[in-house]
C-alpha cells in the first residue's frame, strides 16, 4: 500500500490447487496501469483461473493478489463487491443471464449499481452495443444469438461500467477475422481512450501481437516469460518460441501429454 499505484494488478507467488492438483505453482506478475498484458498459455493451463483470482472469485492457497495496491485475497465479501465494480470481465463463454434480454443484460450492472436514469441507461446500452456492432439485436434473448454474437454482447457488458481494469478471456476466439480485427481495435482504443488497464487471454497470435504492450507466458503453473512483444517474438526460450510458432516439435507436447 506504500508504493504509488503504478501497478494496477500484482500477483506475488500465487499458488492454487483444485482437489490436490496444482494449477498455479507460484505465479508472480505485475501489470502496470494503462498497459495491455496478453497472457499466453496452454489450454487448461490456468489462464481463466488466473483471471478469477484477480476478481477474488477464487482464493489462492498461498501468495498475494493486489489490485490498486489492495490485497484482494484478504477482502471480505462486501469490499470485494465494491472492488469488482471497477473491473470488467469478458467471459470465455459469454456468461450472459439467459433470462434477460440483451438490453437488460447490459443494463443490469447500471441498474443495480448506479443511480442513472432509465434514459441514460438506454443511451449507454445503445452506445456499447454500437461499439461491438450489435445494435440490431438489442431486444433479443441470448438464446436467439450465435456464439460469436453472444461473445460480443458479453464484451459490451464487460465494458458498460467504464471499468479501470478489463479482463478479457479469449475475446476473439470463434469470431470471424473482420470482427476479430474490430474487437482488437476496440481493446486498444478502450485502453487508450478511457485509460483502462487490460489483461487479455488469447490463443490468436495475430491479435496477441497486435494488442499487446506486454506479454506473459504461463507454463506449468508459472510465468516463465514476461516481456515486450518485440522481445517475445525474438525469444530464444524453447517453450515460448514453440508456442508462438505453433510448432509440434519442442518441449511443450513432450512434457505434457494432454
Amino acid at each position: 500500500m506504500s508504493e504509488p499505484q503504478k501497478n494496477s494488478v500484482e500477483l506475488r507467488d500465487v499458488h492454487l490447487s483444485f482437489d490436490e492438483k496444482e494449477i498455479l505453482g507460484g505465479v508472480s506478475l505485475s501489470v502496470p496501469s494503462r498497459s495491455r498484458l496478453v497472457v499466453l498459455g496452454q489450454s487448461g493451463g490456468g489462464k481463466s483461473t488466473l483471471l478469477r483470482l484477480i476478481l477474488g472469485l477464487l482464493k489462492p492457497s498461498a501468495g498475494e493478489i493486489l489490485f490498486n495496491g489492495l490485497k484482494v485475497n484478504r477482502m471480505g465479501r462486501l469490499r470485494l463487491n465494491r472492488m469488482r465494480q471497477k473491473i470488467g470481465m469478458v467471459y470465455q463463454y459469454s456468461a450472459l443471464i439467459s433470462s434477460l434480454s440483451v438490453r437488460d443484460n447490459l443494463a443490469l450492472p447500471l441498474e443495480e449499481l448506479t443511480s442513472k436514469s432509465r434514459s441514460e441507461i438506454d443511451q449507454l446500452v445503445d452506445e456499447k452495443l454500437a461499439l461491438v456492432g450489435m445494435s440490431e439485436v438489442r431486444d433479443k434473448m441470448p438464446a436467439e444469438l450465435s456464439g460469436g454474437m453472444r461473445k460480443r454482447i458479453g464484451l459490451a457488458r464487460g465494458i458498460i461500467m467504464d471499468p479501470e481494469l478489463i479482463l478479457y478471456d479469449e475475446p476473439t476466439a470463434g469470431l470471424d477475422p473482420v470482427i476479430s480485427a474490430v474487437i482488437d481495435e476496440l481493446i486498444i482504443s478502450l485502453s487508450e481512450k478511457i485509460g483502462a488497464t487490460s489483461i487479455i487471454v488469447t490463443h490468436e497470435m495475430g491479435s496477441a501481437f497486435k494488442v499487446a504492450t506486454q506479454m506473459a507466458m504461463l507454463y506449468k503453473g508459472k510465468i516463465i516469460a514476461c516481456d515486450t512483444p518485440e522481445n517475445f517474438k525474438a525469444s530464444t526460450d524453447p517453450v515460448v518460441a514453440q508456442f508462438i510458432a505453433g510448432d509440434t516439435q519442442g518441449p511443450i507436447l513432450q512434457s505434457t501429454p494432454s
Partner: protein, 263 residues
C-alpha cells in the same frame, strides 16, 4: 468412512453452510440498505412472490380441500359409532391450524417452489451466470437469494391460511352431506374449538418452514457442481432435504410446545 458419525458430520456441515448463507445474505442486503438503496428491485421480488404465492394457491387449496374432506369423513364415521360426530369440526379445525396446514403446505411448496429455485439457480451456476453476477459486484446473494427466500418466508403463512380455509370448506361440505351437520353449526363448532395458542403455533411454524424451504433450495442450487446431471441431483436433494427438515422441525416444535404448555 460410512456410518452414522460421518452422516451426522456432513449434516452439521451443511447446516452451518445454510446458516452462513442466511447470514451472508442478510449482510449483503443490509450493506445496500445502509447505502440508502433497496436490497433488490421490487419488481424482482414481486415476480417471485407471484410465482411462489399466487401460483401455488391452486395446488394448495385443491389438496387441502381433499385432505380436509377425507379427514372429516373418516373420523366422522368412527365418531358416529359413539354418537360423537359433533366433534368433527373441532378435530379438523385443530389439526389443520396447528399441524396439518403448515405441514402439508410446507411439503407442497418444497416440491413445487423449492425444486424450481434449485433447478433455476443450479442452471445459472452451471452456465457461469451466478459467477458473472458476482464478478460484476452485484452480489448474487442479495440479488438472487434475497428475493427468493423472502418470498417463500412471507408467503408460506398466507398459503397456510388458504390451506386451513379450504380444508374446513371440504370438511364442512362432507359433514353436511354425510352427518347432517349444518354449515352454520360446523363453523360455530370449529371456531369454538380453536385456541389462540394453536393459531400462534401454526403461524410460527409456517414462517419457519418457509425460511427452511427457501434457504435449502437456494443453498442446493448455488452449490451445484457438474453440469446438467448435477442440477438434477441437486433438485432431488433439495426437495428431499427440505421435506425431511420440515417434518423434523415440525416434530421438534410439537415436542417443545407440549413440554411448554403440556398440551
Amino acid at each position: 468412512m460410512f456410518g452414522p458419525w460421518s452422516a451426522i458430520r456432513t449434516s452439521l456441515q451443511h447446516l452451518s453452510s445454510v446458516v452462513w448463507l442466511l447470514i451472508d445474505t442478510i449482510q449483503e442486503m443490509g450493506d445496500r440498505v445502509v447505502r440508502g438503496r433497496m436490497p433488490f428491485r421490487l419488481s424482482i421480488f414481486f415476480a417471485q412472490t407471484d410465482r411462489t404465492g399466487v401460483g401455488s394457491i391452486g395446488l394448495v387449496s385443491l389438496v387441502s380441500f381433499f385432505i380436509g374432506l377425507t379427514m372429516a369423513l373418516l373420523t366422522g364415521y368412527q365418531l358416529q359409532t359413539f354418537g360423537q360426530e359433533q366433534m368433527v369440526p373441532g378435530l379438523v379445525a385443530i389439526s389443520f391450524t396447528r399441524e396439518l396446514g403448515p405441514l402439508m403446505t410446507g411439503i407442497m411448496v418444497a416440491a413445487r417452489i423449492g425444486a424450481a429455485y434449485t433447478a433455476e439457480l443450479g442452471t445459472m451456476v452451471v452456465s457461469e451466470e451466478v459467477e458473472a453476477i458476482e464478478a460484476m459486484g452485484i452480489g448474487p446473494l442479495r440479488f438472487l437469494v434475497g428475493p427468493r427466500v423472502l418470498a417463500v418466508f412471507l408467503l408460506l403463512p398466507c398459503l397456510v391460511v388458504v390451506s386451513n380455509f379450504t380444508a374446513m370448506v371440504g370438511a364442512a361440505l362432507i359433514s353436511r352431506w354425510a352427518f347432517d351437520t349444518s354449515v352454520h353449526h360446523f363453523v360455530h363448532a370449529a371456531l369454538e374449538s380453536m385456541l389462540i395458542r394453536d393459531i400462534i403455533a401454526g403461524t410460527v411454524k409456517s414462517f419457519l418452514f418457509g425460511l427452511i424451504i427457501g434457504l435449502v433450495a437456494c443453498y442446493k442450487g448455488l452449490s451445484v457442481r457438474g453440469g446438467a446431471a448435477g442440477v438434477g441431483a441437486a433438485t432431488t436433494q433439495s426437495v428431499v432435504t427440505a421435506i425431511t427438515v420440515v417434518i423434523a422441525f415440525d416434530t421438534l416444535c410439537n415436542i417443545v410446545l407440549v413440554a411448554l404448555f403440556n398440551s
